[in-house]
Subunit: 169 residues, 2 copies
């Protein structure tokens, strides 16, 4: 069983959180929602899904987790404005722990400056940002580059979950 941190803020793409999390839990893994502040519910962008925050970033550490999920929507844009969110994400990458990024998820990885020379995919609007960060953008439903698993959009979720589960013990 792996401990997965899902880093999340308001306006997350609902199904990019709910669907992978359901599959991860069904496979026996534990998912903890980590955000800027705790003690409140976050709201999804399209469906208004309410998600309880389990831990604030200041009260947790990447050491407490085996893997990281970064759902898309506008949640990554909100998170990347906070240095502790950027530092949290950066440590998973530098310690080579599994990171699952979908849609706008790469925005957090760009601010963490960990994409130089990596292969990744993401939402079409951020392709130029991904390339400018020194990464190789690939237009595929899922890209696996060592610890980093990435997908483009909600339609890619089955492939995204399939490859992510392979990285969890």
């Amino acid at each position: 069983m792996a401990k997965i941190a899902a880093i999340l803020e308001d306006m997350f793409e609902d199904v990019e959180f709910t669907k992978p999390v359901k599959k991860f839990k069904n496979a026996g893994h534990e998912v903890t929602v980590v955000s800027i502040r705790s003690g409140r519910a976050l709201t999804g962008k399209k469906k208004g899904t309410k998600v309880k925050v389990d831990l604030s970033l200041k009260n947790t550490s990447p050491d407490d987790f085996d893997a990281l999920l970064i759902p898309g929507g506008y949640s990554p844009d909100k998170l990347r404005a906070h240095q502790n969110a950027v530092d949290f994400v950066k440590e998973f990458m530098t310690k080579n722990k599994p990171v699952f990024s979908i849609c706008h998820g790469p925005q957090l990885l760009i601010t963490a400056q960990v994409l130089e020379g990596r292969k990744i995919t993401g939402w079409k609007s951020i392709i130029q940002d991904i390339k400018n960060a020194g990464a190789e953008f690939k237009d595929q439903e899922v890209v696996v580059d060592d610890n980093l698993v990435s997908s483009r959009n909600p339609g890619d979720i089955p492939a995204f979950v399939r490859e992510s589960l392979k990285k969890l013990k």
Copy 2:
């Protein structure tokens, strides 16, 4: 009197459209709202402001305008996924026409690949994207670099409008 195109999509930052537009019109300039599709109203992110689209991108050209306004919020993220929006913005820059960019506005300029060597400011979440695009990010209320006027957030609007008006004849 100058003809200004305001390029806009849903989830624009309300006041970054309404306040500059009011000031531009009060000064005798004409503002046309250009978007992906016409015949519908766009909705602001925070206040739900409704804005009628005057022209679709496919039915207009940068040749019809003297200057460009790019309000922020999540409107630029939506626009930059469309090649005709990117091409529209690019032409104002390559023809050295005044471009007024605030908040997330630089996202469109990044996808248009026109920021190499330019001085610009923008919303804090996109600082790394701006730097990776080859621009010099400046943390100031307004940055004027030749034809390009930029600001960071709604609090900067008075300085943004003041410097933008200086570029209009």
